[in-house]
């Protein structure tokens, strides 16, 4: 039992508890706050793995922008407690078994591939942001430009969608 392992388990527990809380909470705002907890814990995990830039981006973009957006929308729409309707029998019956099956499948796949996935080659070295930037702007410049275009389209779409009716 060494320090990284303990930290890992703590952060992992935070993730899982946050996720379960997201499921079990009845008010969407509580679910949103639980999700923020998950994201922060994940950022911690990234740091643990030595991906500092990704951790920072996770906090700034995911936690600071996307979740804020969610909270704003919840406020805008006056979301209340969730209703108790149940029209989909399929979801009721098949939901849990399916999720268990999915998780089990993935976990089994992971467990079986222990041999192929090299474990414990963590060097402890941090990923230099500079190296990441080099990779991003040299090998992956094309997808990078495309994502910027994607963001532009998303902005336009959001504006068009949310504009008030009746205006030309």
């Amino acid at each position: 039992m060494n320090a990284p392992l303990i930290i890992f388990f703590v952060l992992a527990a935070m993730c899982v508890i946050g996720a379960i809380s997201l499921i079990l909470q009845r008010h969407p705002i509580h679910s949103a706050l639980s999700l923020i907890v998950v994201m922060v814990a994940l950022a911690g995990l990234y740091l643990l793995m030595g991906a500092e830039f990704v951790a920072a981006v996770q906090i700034i973009v995911y936690g600071g922008a996307i979740m804020v957006l969610f909270v704003f929308v919840i406020m805008l729409l006056n979301a209340g407690l969730e209703e108790r309707t149940n029209f989909s029998k399929l979801a009721g019956f098949a939901g849990v078994p399916l999720a268990v099956a999915l998780t089990g499948l993935l976990a089994a796949a992971v467990a079986r591939s222990q041999d192929t996935v090299q474990a414990a080659t963590q060097t402890g070295a941090t990923a230099p942001t500079k190296a990441l930037a080099n990779l991003l702007f040299q090998d992956f410049v094309y997808p990078f430009e495309l994502t910027s275009f994607l963001i532009l389209v998303a902005i336009l779409g959001a504006i068009v969608l949310a504009a008030p009716r009746g205006e030309s």
Partner: protein, 100 residues
């Protein structure tokens, strides 16, 4: 050091929880949030692999995923706003015009 497959199993568990939330919750916004949870789980897996294979490509991909998730959240929430305006309710089962 933390073995890589620990991260991967955590990623699988988070993904599964995301699926459960996706299937069981009735509030549209909550469902959307479960999608974000699933994306995060996948990001965790990417970074874990990136670290295990000692290549930075995984992290680059994580950046792209985050960007796309942001764009998707923006547009998706816009759609949700419009839908809710028409139906006056946040229950996803009110979106049932295709029902016979």
């Amino acid at each position: 050091m933390v073995p890589t497959h620990y991260y991967l199993i955590l990623s699988a568990i988070l993904f599964g929880l995301g699926v459960v939330a996706f299937v069981f919750k009735r509030n549209i916004i909550t469902i959307f949030m479960s999608i974000e949870l699933m994306l995060n789980a996948v990001n965790l897996a990417f970074v874990a692999f990136s670290q295990a294979l000692n290549k930075l490509d995984g992290q680059v991909f994580v950046l792209f995923v985050i960007v796309v998730a942001a764009a998707e959240a923006a547009v998706g929430l816009g759609i949700i706003i419009m839908t809710v305006r028409n139906r006056q309710t946040l229950n996803v089962e009110s979106v049932n015009l295709l029902k016979l």
